[in-house]
Amino acid sequence: MATAAKKAPAKSRSDGKSGLSAPKPAEFTRDEELAAYRHMLLIRRFEEKAGQLYGMGFIGGFCHLYIGQEAVVTGMKMALIEGDQMITAYRDHGHMLAMELSPRGVMAELTGRRGGLSRGKGGSMHMFSKEKHFYGGHGIVGAQVSLGTGLAFANRYRDNNNVSLTYFGDGAANQGQVYESFNMASLWKLPVIYIIENNRYAMGTSVSRSSAETDFSHRGASFKIPGIQVDGMDVRAVKAAGDLAAEWCRAGNGPLILEMQTYRYRGHSMSDPAKYRSKEEVQKMRSEHDPIEQVKARLIEKKWATEDELKAIDKEVRDVVADAAEFAQNDAEPDPSELWTDIVL
């Protein structure tokens, strides 16, 4: 056994333990820092506005905000090439903005208007864009993991060098079909990056109360899928892990798990008062680990941007969000005939 282990190349572990370790955070150029800042800020401001519109009654149903987790989708997007797919669950507004879906289209879908990305028939949890390779937006916890594995199956079938970014939370990580998917993805060497956004709470249940193995990077051990824990609050760390994972998949090594250690500032959904955690815990994350503040501090420190320049970016972002909100509040509701369209082709 010992000799066999020695012979195995360092990268292709067979013991199920971590054979790969988290890479050092990427060294960002000024442009990359500024782009990351802008993208994360867009998600933050967009979500704040969505929360506001929800409170005003413009947005109905469930609405799950991504505030606090912006570095995860932003860093991962920076590791993608054209044609790579993304799929996630219902905390999806950030993912859609990262995949460059139109803020107007997303916000108008939240308000249930005809200009929404799903023409008002999907809502917050169900939006898609074939053009931008965004495959939803899924309301059933864990279902997107099998679907994302299917996207990777299509990539391998077509031998097209693309990778499926399949996101799910620490809560979904306890669903059975996640492991059914892990098994097939590993068996068939499918190019899928399983990104577990561990924001510490599955709705109101903390990881330690819901999960026997709280190190989610080990969740692929039974399937020989390596995993890495990543500081999901640092966009540079996410980008470096994303690069490594994408390269791993494109080289034909099969799936990889990235556990993104992140945090959501808001409740699970708009109606969640988040009594299961202390205000101090949230405040500590905000003040010490905020993904946007981290980038801002580096930009100022390196003198890559002045306060005024950052304020100008802030204003541009606010304008984009204000325009989206304006559109979403004033756009017409879907025509009643839409009730009967898009059921079957």
């Binding site: 999907g122 169900h126 059933i140 279902a143 996207l151 097939m184 369209t341 059921i343 079957v344």
Partner: protein, 466 residues
């Protein structure tokens, strides 16, 4: 006493098989566990092992005999001290009757098994199948099993479109648990004929994801009972995405496999899902009876851009029907077929339910009742127009299915007919379904749980006031 070796049943639905080869000769010593013969069913070739010890005294059924009924004596085993001369009693009558059965069984057995494939020339007093307007007049017909028809449909579509692939448990190397995918691995290779682990929820989701990415998966469930594990992906992911995406993205996928009661497999393996899936907007539900419909509709299903539930039946797999010999035989989904025209009563059924309808019709003819039989073929979208046109002519309706009675397909039809053609009805619609009980195992109870021909005959007599 010499021991008779009987033709064994090798699957729950096997009624007969071919004795392909003897591996022992008369006079050979046999111990328990020895392989003595090979038997070929429509699903597989199986070895027959000796259970007792002795000498193979007499072979009663020659190698190469086809259609040997289960429990026919096929050989005689001699115990110590016995000789071929002792074979006398058991062998003589067995010998006389076994080959006779083996020689001419096909026609007889199948007549009993409701073979409705009325070759127009055949003199047999069978139901005259109405011509399917979707098959050009004069088309050459080839007798084909439902099993072969399904396989041919998949093979033809896979040749036609490189995005079509089939995945499921045992579909590749094993050649299909029910041999429906026989030969596909050899022709198309492991990239397109994919054996999955036993993981229905997972591979259904993988199939839907691949379909969202533009491939055209055929997902085989070993039976639809196991699709219960996957029903969330079928309904929440496959059926709803087109709507939820405002028409941007759908799932062109076929979920297929045997559905409903097979034989003696009890409650968890015997359930008809026609009504379940027909409840869901965004799905199409197809349930063919004949081999021609199985072929033409499976080809249509594979080409259809929507998620399709394609419900087959294990008992029908081995039955033969005429299939048109056409290069590209595709039937429309959503169109019922008038199986037999008639004027006194309309009997609507689908899938294996048709076997009851067809047998009942023959009996009813003897009573002077001329029944029209409609084979729905598709449960969703439901071809109500064809049903209603028929009811307007006959003024009487009986619906037959094997599924449970509450919220059944028949209930829905009865409701729609009462709303749309009430004034044309001369009697209440009668729906015949399986009994409202989990499927029992015992042979007699299972028989009681399923619909039967007598019930259909009685229902027709009731609505025609005979």
């Amino acid at each position: 006493m010499p021991i008779e070796i009987l033709m064994p049943a090798l699957s729950p639905t096997m009624e007969e098989g071919n004795l392909s080869k003897w591996l022992k000769n008369e006079g050979d010593k046999v111990v328990a566990g020895d392989v003595i013969a090979e038997i070929e069913t429509d699903k597989a070739t199986m070895e027959v092992e000796a259970v007792d010890e002795g000498t193979l005294g007499k072979i009663l059924i020659a190698a190469g005999t086809e259609g040997v009924k289960v429990n026919t004596p096929i050989a005689v085993l001699l115990q110590d001290g016995e000789s071929a001369a002792d074979v006398g009693k058991p062998s003589a009558p067995a010998k006389a009757e076994a080959p006779a059965k083996a020689e001419a069984p096909a026609a007889e057995d199948k007549a009993e098994a409701t073979k409705p494939a009325a070759a127009p020339v055949a003199a047999a007093p069978k139901t005259e199948i109405a011509a399917d307007p979707d098959i050009p007049v004069g088309t050459e017909m080839v007798s084909t099993t439902v099993r072969e028809a399904l396989r041919d449909a998949m093979a033809e579509e896979m040749r036609r479109d490189g995005d079509v692939f089939v995945m499921g448990e045992e579909v590749a190397e094993y050649q299909g648990a029910y041999k429906i995918t026989q030969g596909l691995l050899q022709e198309f290779g492991p990239r397109r004929v994919v054996d999955t682990p036993i993981t229905e929820h997972g591979f259904a989701g993988v199939g839907v994801g691949a379909a969202m990415a533009g491939l055209k998966p055929i997902v085989e469930f070993m039976t639809f009972n196991f699709a219960m594990q996957a029903i969330d992906q079928i309904i929440n992911s496959a059926a709803k995405t087109l709507y939820m995406s405002g028409g941007q993205m759908g799932a062109p996928i076929v979920f297929r496999g045997p559905n409903g009661a097979a034989a003696r497999v009890a409650a968890q393996h015997s359930q008809c899902y026609a009504a379940w899936y027909s409840h869901i907007p965004g799905l199409k539900v197809v349930m063919p009876y004949t081999a021609a419909d199985a072929k033409g509709l499976l080809k249509a299903a594979i080409r259809d851009p929507n998620p399709i539930i394609f419900l087959e039946n294990e008992i029908l797999y081995g039955q033969s029907f005429d299939v048109p010999k056409l290069d590209d035989f595709v039937l429309p989904i959503g169109k019922a077929r008038i199986h037999k025209t008639g004027k006194d009563v309309t009997i609507v059924s689908f899938g294996i339910g048709m076997t009851y309808a067809v047998k009942a019709e023959a009996e009813l003819r003897g009573l002077g009742i001329d029944a029209e039989i409609i084979d729905l073929r598709t449960i969703r979208p439901l071809d109500l127009d064809t049903i209603i046109a028929s009811v307007k002519k006959t003024n009487r309706l009986v619906v037959v299915e094997e599924g449970f009675p509450q919220s059944s397909v028949g209930d829905h039809i009865a409701n729609q007919v009462s709303q749309r053609a009430f004034d044309f009805l001369d009697a209440p619609v009668i729906t015949i379904a399986g009994k409202d009980v989990p499927m029992p195992y015992a042979a007699n109870l299972e028989k009681l749980a399923l619909p039967n021909v007598g019930e259909v005959v009685e229902a027709v007599k009731a609505v025609t006031y005979r």
